[in-house]
Amino acid sequence: MSAVVHTRPWFTLVRREFWERPGLWMVPAALAAGLVVLGIAAALQLAQVDLSNMQINFNGGAMTITGSVEAQGSGSIDQPLRLLVMGVGLLLLTVSGIMVCSYLLDSLYAERRDRSILFWRSLPVSDSQAVLAKYSIALLVPLAVYALTVLTTAILLVLLSLTPQVAAHWPPAAFAQYASALAELGATLLLNLLWYAPLYAVLQLASLARRTPALWVLLVPVGCIIAEKLLRGSDYVAHWVGQRLAPLPLQGAQQPGLWLGVLAAAAVLALTVRLRRYSDDS
């Protein structure tokens, strides 16, 4: 017997998830690469365009930089920089957010659907490790996508700054403006990871359903909303669900619902760990 064995359970468990669903990293990466290609095309185009009517269009309107640099003066590039960061960031984060939600909804269902669960269970991985590793994907992917956003926008900026027209009008505080837009995006992202923590936990809990987890996620809230409407004529639940699904702006950081939600997420996770234990026992 060898004396010391090095295992890396968390690293391995997270890696496993990406083996099973390479789309989780491939789709955002491909999108970012597409944006860079568009950026290159735009930069080449820009070199030939009259600056008085500068117009760069990324991705069919997902992000638009409009206006004349000359007409607006040197400081005015602040707004396009912010648009660039927010546009690229929100596009990538929205896409990966949707992917993460559908991932969670399937996370504890797929292993029973393909009957591989007894194989995973034959190994020394506890239910809490398995559940938390899968849950952590929902946090890791957006963070990685944020890093990807930084990289993508930096490349796009460098491309733009290489065109002589933009270089000539480069605002002195461009870097500071760019950095502040990135910081704002980062802070909003961190806040919203906390804000959506309970939603993520609920999606994962639903993935323990015997069949059609998506139906549970839809039917339970819709059922509550209809029941409330019929019985009391009010729509607090609908209001609350709507509020909970909408992203939280930075100003919302103070609201107690944020931390109550994190507590709720922890409780739901604990429940999921317990329920996974015998989820395949029939």
Partner: protein, 291 residues
């Protein structure tokens, strides 16, 4: 030596029906135990309880651990292959090795690599690209490379051809088994494994109906191919089973003097398969009821 598995008063009910009913037994280290029973007899339920995969009543200790409360610690020293434990189709062979290495403190990659080299399994293949036999070989490679004290096999060779089945058990005995290790195996193909078993546990309707060491079967059980004119005399010695084979009656006795039986016909030691049939098959009343 202390027992590796001890069960006492173990029961498990599914929706009011007893799948395992008040079972008690123990398994010593270094044994190869065959858990033998018909479909639905409770074999898999019993294994699931041992592996901490299902809650139960009664007391159960596996490697000194409680399978429900200490499942994670238990799985460091136990490996299992269930016929229903399907390797995920998307997994690559190399990923399976990486995963085991990253997760399992008792996994020795070199052993698995060495075994895989004797097969046609390529490292970059996905499980979905492998034949059923190859998937079982891969699973066996992963499991053999775990220095597990207890190996549980539930119908491990179901659906495989004869050569692959033979190779599976040869590998198991040659590369895996030693006095530190214990195997608990269930199978329908009793004849194929009876030569490797050291102990048998027969289970029927959730109860253990025979718990014996294979080496003691000869002194305990006798099979008698009885002469037709001696049938009445043989029946008087109270066989627990009687069946017709090739026009003659085969009677099976427990704890009856073999010398006395030899006067009535040809005596032999029943194989495990014979015993299984004798114990579990409903008596054929057409050929003379025992009751």
């Amino acid at each position: 030596m202390t027992a590796l598995i001890t069960a006492s008063g173990l029961s498990k009910h599914y929706r009011g029906r007893a799948a395992v009913a008040d079972v008690s037994f123990s398994v010593a280290p270094g044994r190869i135990v065959g858990l033998i029973g018909r479909n639905g007899a409770g074999k898999t339920t019993l294994l699931k309880a041992i592996l901490g995969l299902t809650p139960y009543q009664g007391s159960l200790s596996v490697l000194g651990l409680d399978p429900t409360l200490q499942r994670d610690a238990l799985m460091q020293q136990v490996a299992f292959i269930a016929d229903t434990a399907v390797l995920p189709k998307w997994l690559r062979v190399s990923q399976a090795l990486d995963y085991m290495e990253g997760i399992h403190p008792a996994f020795e990659r070199a052993i698995a690599e060495r075994f895989l080299q004797t097969t046609e399994i390529r490292r970059n293949s996905r499980v979905r690209e492998l034949s059923k036999g190859m998937v079982t070989q891969l699973h066996l490679a992963l499991v053999l490379a775990i220095r597990a004290r207890l190996l549980v096999l539930d119908e491990p060779t179901l659906g495989l051809d004869l050569l692959t089945r033979r190779r599976f058990y040869d590998t198991l005995l040659g590369d895996y088994m030693d006095e530190q290790r214990t195997i608990l195996v269930t199978t329908h193909q009793v004849e194929e494994i009876e030569n490797i078993l050291t102990d048998v546990l027969f289970i029927e309707q959730g109860r253990i109906v025979l718990d014996a060491q294979v080496e003691t079967l000869g002194s305990r059980f006798t099979q008698l191919l009885v002469h037709p004119d001696q049938l009445a005399a043989a029946r008087a010695l109270q066989p627990f089973s009687e069946r017709r084979a090739l026009g003659r009656s085969v009677l099976t006795f427990e704890n009856v003097d073999r010398q006395a039986l030899a006067k009535l016909g040809d005596v032999s030691t029943p194989t495990v398969a014979d015993l299984f049939v004798a114990r579990l098959q409903p008596q054929n009343t057409d050929n003379g009821s025992l009751s």
